[in-house]
Each structure stands twice: as C-alpha cells, then as structure tokens.
C-alpha cells in the first residue's frame, strides 16, 4: 500500500514555505528585464527630467540640492510600487490562469502563504530600490546620515505594499480591477506623498491631506535616513507605518484563513 513519501524519506514536518518563496522570487527574477531593469530606468528618467527642470528653482531642504533631495524619494517610490506589483500581479495571474490550484492543493498554511508572497515582494522592492539608487547616486549623491532609518522604512514600506498587493490580488477578479487599484489608489498616493516636493511648502488643506496619506510617512522617514531632515518626526512616521502594516497584515491573514475568494 503506497504511503505518502514524507512518512518515510524526509522530515514529516517539512513545509512548502521555502519552495513557495523560492518560486515567487524566481518568477520575477526570470523576467528581470521587465521587473527590475525597466523600473530602474523609469526611476532614472524621473530624476533626469525633474532634476533638470527644477534643480535651479527649488530647494526642498536647506543645504540640499533638489536632485539630491529627489534621489531617496525616487528610490522609495520604486520600492513601494514594485513590492505592490509583485504580489498583486503574481496572485491575479495565478487566479486567472488557474495555476493557483497548485499552491492550494499542498499542505501550505495561510500564514506560510502570506509570508512567502510578502517576503518575495519585499525582495523585489528592495532589489529595484537598490538598482535605482545605484544608478541615480551618480547624478547627485545624497549622503547617508542615519542608515538604520533607511533600513527600517525600506523594509517596512516594502512589506506594507507587499501586503496591500496581496489583498488587491485576492480581491480582484480581473486584471481591470487590479489596474484600477493600481492607477487610482497606489499611483496617486505615491505621487502625492512628497517624492517630488517637501510638503511644508503646500497650502494648509493639501498639507492636511498629505498627513492622511500613509505613503507620505514612508517617504519622509526614509528620506530622514539620508539627510537627517524631515517634515515629520521619524518616530511618528515609524509608528504610522508599523500600525498600518499590522492592520493590513491582520486583514490579509483573515482573508486567507477564511479562504475569501480563493477557497470560496
């Protein structure tokens, strides 16, 4: 009588988490032109265009050139957008093509599922961010004053967007819906978060709106790690990002545990 292999050959507790994470990373690595090189180029283009246009006209932080000011914001923007894209696009493609079934049939827990998709998104986000930094730093090196903040916000921001991407991928039934999420929520939030400007210069209404945007805190805190200057106290920003991460993670884990839209 055949018995499941793992009762005889390998440790019975071995889980599929490791492989799912490996597969999710391999997935974007295999098409690195599209998933890494292209976003790096986009980041560089933003730097060249905005830096060139505004360098002589805007000083966002005292003593910091505009182009240098722009670098961390662009790095963070690419981290956030690519972390979101990784989990959301992977999930929705798997759902629509039907190959998600291969992940649902094995004994992978919802926590392992969550962990693999989010960590892979963090990896992609940070790889792209590092790529953007490696190229843009040649134009206007920003200098690094407080590296731990860079690490904290880099990981925290990537994780937050990775989880948001996971939720978007679960909830969306069609590519259309995911695109709407991306174009009407993620993109505006990133652009209006102070990547290209310091919010201090905004009229009071828009300043208040910015302070409601979680992306603002991620960008601002990340930037503090470079210049030791920010619009908001970095500890406040860290608290906002940490709470947002906890909240969306709880939502995502709940969805996965209930099998919402995946095991309906």
């Amino acid at each position: 009588m055949p018995r499941p292999l793992d009762e005889t050959d390998e440790s019975p507790g071995a889980s599929g988490f490791r492989t799912l994470l490996y597969k999710e990373v391999l997935r974007f690595w295999k098409v690195s032109f599209q998933t890494i090189a292209a976003p790096v180029l986009t980041g560089v283009l933003y730097l060249l265009v905005f830096g060139h246009v505004l360098e002589a006209h805007v000083e966002a932080f005292p003593g910091v050139s505009y182009t240098a000011f722009l670098v961390p914001g662009l790095v963070m923007m690419s981290v956030l957008q690519n972390a979101f894209a990784n989990s959301s696009s992977s999930l929705i493609q798997s759902k629509i093509t039907g190959n998600l079934v291969f992940v649902l049939l094995p004994p992978i827990s919802h926590a392992e599922f969550f962990g693999a998709y989010v960590i892979a998104s963090v990896v992609r986000g940070l790889v792209v961010g590092a790529g953007v930094f490696a190229v843009t730093v040649w134009f206007a090196p920003p200098g690094i004053r407080a590296p731990l903040w860079i690490v904290a916000f880099g990981f925290g921001g990537a994780a937050l967007l990775g989880v948001l991407g996971l939720i978007a991928g679960i909830v969306s039934d069609k590519f259309d819906q995911l695109a709407a999420f991306q174009n009407f929520i993620i993109m505006p939030a990133t652009f209006l978060s102070g990547v290209f400007y310091s919010v201090k210069g905004l009229p009071p209404f828009w300043l208040a709106v910015s302070h409601l945007n979680p992306f603002f805190y991620m960008i601002d805190g990340f930037r503090y790690g470079f210049f030791a200057q920010s619009d908001v106290n970095p500890w406040v920003s860290l608290a906002v990002v940490a709470s947002a991460l906890a909240l969306v993670s709880a939502i995502a884990l709940r969805m996965l545990a209930n099998g919402y839209k995946i095991r309906n």
Binding site: M1, R3, P4, L5, G16, T19, T97, L104, P106, R263
Partner: protein
C-alpha cells in the same frame, strides 16, 4: 475499522440560490478504482474540490485516510493527489522545474529520483527541460498527472482526465492509471466517457442535482438495471408486441430493449411468426450509457446497501 481512503459525511454545499451538493455521503475504500459520474452541474467537481480543500463545504465533513480536510488539512492533503480538468500550468517554468516546485510545496526537497521516474513513466523525458508553454495539450496533460504524483499520494483523483484527448493518449493514460491502481493507489475518476468508467471502475457513484442517485459495483449496475440490448437488421413490419420494445430505429436497423435473457426467444419467435426476416443480430448487456440515461431520466435511485 480501518480508515476509508475518502469519506464524506452529509456533505452540503450551497451557493446563493443553488444547492451544489445536497447532503452527500460516500465511502471509498483504499485500493478501489472508483468512478464519479453525472451530468454537468451534478456536483462532481464540487465534491472533489471540497475533498481537496479547494472549496469549503457549507456543512458536513470530508476525510482523506481518516484526516479531516479542514481540521487536519496537512495530513489530508499529503495523502491526496489531484489532476485538475483544465490544462493549467505556470508559463515561467520548464517541466522539471514545475515538478521540483510542486514537490517542494509538499516539503520534499530531495525528490529528484522519483521525479525522474515519473517523467520516464509518463514519457516526458524528451521534454523535461522544455518550457511548459511549448508543450502540446497531450503533454501538458501528462505533466498534470506527474504533478499529482510527486508526493506519492495513496489517493489520486482525476477530473475528466481524457477529455479532448486523442485515442492513443487515452489508452496510454488508462494503462498508466491502471498500473497505479495495481500498485495499491486508490483512484477516483470523474468522467463523461461512460465507456471509460465501465472499462476502468470497479464501483461507481452517479450524481444528479447534487445527490447520489446510484452507488454500486459497476457489474451490478449493469446487470440489474438495464437488461439486454438486441440490435438487428430486420425487414418486414414489426408486430406490435415487439414494436413496444424498440429503443432506436433507423430504416431496417432496429435496437430493442429487453428486460432479460428470457425475452430473447419469444421475441425472435414473434418476429418469425410475423414474417420478418432477420439479416443481422447482436445481443449484448446494456452498457453504462443505458444505465446512466435511464437513471437520469427516470429519477430512480439505486443505492447498494
């Protein structure tokens, strides 16, 4: 009492306005070759999905080798391999990568020997390092079977495995699956090809409208439910007593349904007396298609005790 390979108890699945499964209870023993038949929408795929953990039941329980598919899902899923109906695949990977990844999902990271064996048995060796996208439909289907086997599950479920498949591949798959069954794997097959179920399955459940309307050994279903088919080429007008048994008629070709062997001689006698000339004759047990159609239309139930 030893564990059933698959057991479902009062399984119910409802969607708004639809009852997909209506308190279904079934027990499939280890080593069986079991068939699940029914028209589209009968609940076959819903039943399999619940057992596989792909869908949550509204109420009731499902167990694989004694492990509850919700409360003890790890053990249940390790014991089960599922070959889905659609040709789904991940376009990023080769055949070997696909199998290694599937194997890894079950926590089996040093499984290359078995993977090579499965690849060879399914005649995929030549395409092992080809991207999934480049494979023909038949080869993709073979990879799906391989994926279901990487963790050597004792129970294997195949959902319409030969739908749209050419005759040669169908025979190959039948042979392969029979071989697995001989080695002791429990096989559960859903199919529309009744000839396939009749050929392969020892026991059959027929579903209709989410309920089990027949559950018995294939041989018993065939013998007890449908009697005989008598096909003949006959000239002359059929007497009324014979005409009432006609199931099909095209010109001189007539198919009669008789309830048993005892009716054969009297029928032939009636034809002779009426002056009909029989040019060709074949008497056979009704096949599963007859049983199926009969049950579906009559709404009769046939559950073995």
């Amino acid at each position: 009492m030893s564990s059933a390979a698959i057991q479902v108890v009062d399984l119910r699945k409802t969607y708004p306005g639809v009852v997909a499964l209506d308190n279904v209870s079934l027990r499939i023993e280890p080593g069986e070759f079991f068939g699940l038949l029914g028209p589209n929408g009968a609940g076959k795929t819903t039943l399999i999905s619940i057992v596989a953990g792909l869908t949550r039941a509204t109420s009731g329980r499902a167990l694989v080798h004694g492990h509850d598919v919700v409360d003890d899902y790890r053990a249940a899923r390790r014991a089960l391999g599922v070959v889905p109906q659609e040709l789904v695949f991940d376009p990023f990977f080769t055949v070997r990568e696909t199998l290694r990844i599937q194997s890894g999902y079950f926590g089996l990271h040093r499984n290359d020997d078995w993977i090579d064996e499965v690849i060879a048995n399914l005649d995929l060796t030549g395409k092992a390092d080809a991207n999934m996208r480049s494979l023909s439909g038949g080869m993709k289907r073979r990879v799906l079977v391989a994926q279901a086997l990487v963790h050597r599950p004792p129970v294997i479920v195949l959902d319409e495995p030969t739908a749209g498949v050419d005759v040669e591949l169908r025979q190959t798959l039948w042979q392969f699956v029979r071989g697995l069954n001989r080695k002791g794997h429990t096989i559960v097959l859903t199919t529309h090809y009744l000839e396939e179920a009749q050929e392969l399955c020892g026991r059959i459940a027929m579903l209709k409208g989410g309920r089990v309307i027949a559950l018995d050994r294939t041989r018993s279903l065939l013998r007890q439910l449908s009697g005989l088919r008598m096909s003949m080429r006959v000239t002359g007008e059929l007497p009324a007593a014979v005409a009432s048994h006609v199931a099909e008629q095209t010109g001189e070709h007539v198919v009669l349904r008789l309830s048993g062997v005892a009716e054969v001689e009297p029928t032939l006698a009636l034809l002779r007396q009426a002056g009909c000339a029989i040019e060709d004759l074949e008497v056979a047990h009704a096949d599963l298609e007859d049983v199926f159609l009969q049950l579906m239309s009559e709404g009769r139930e046939r559950i073995a005790a």
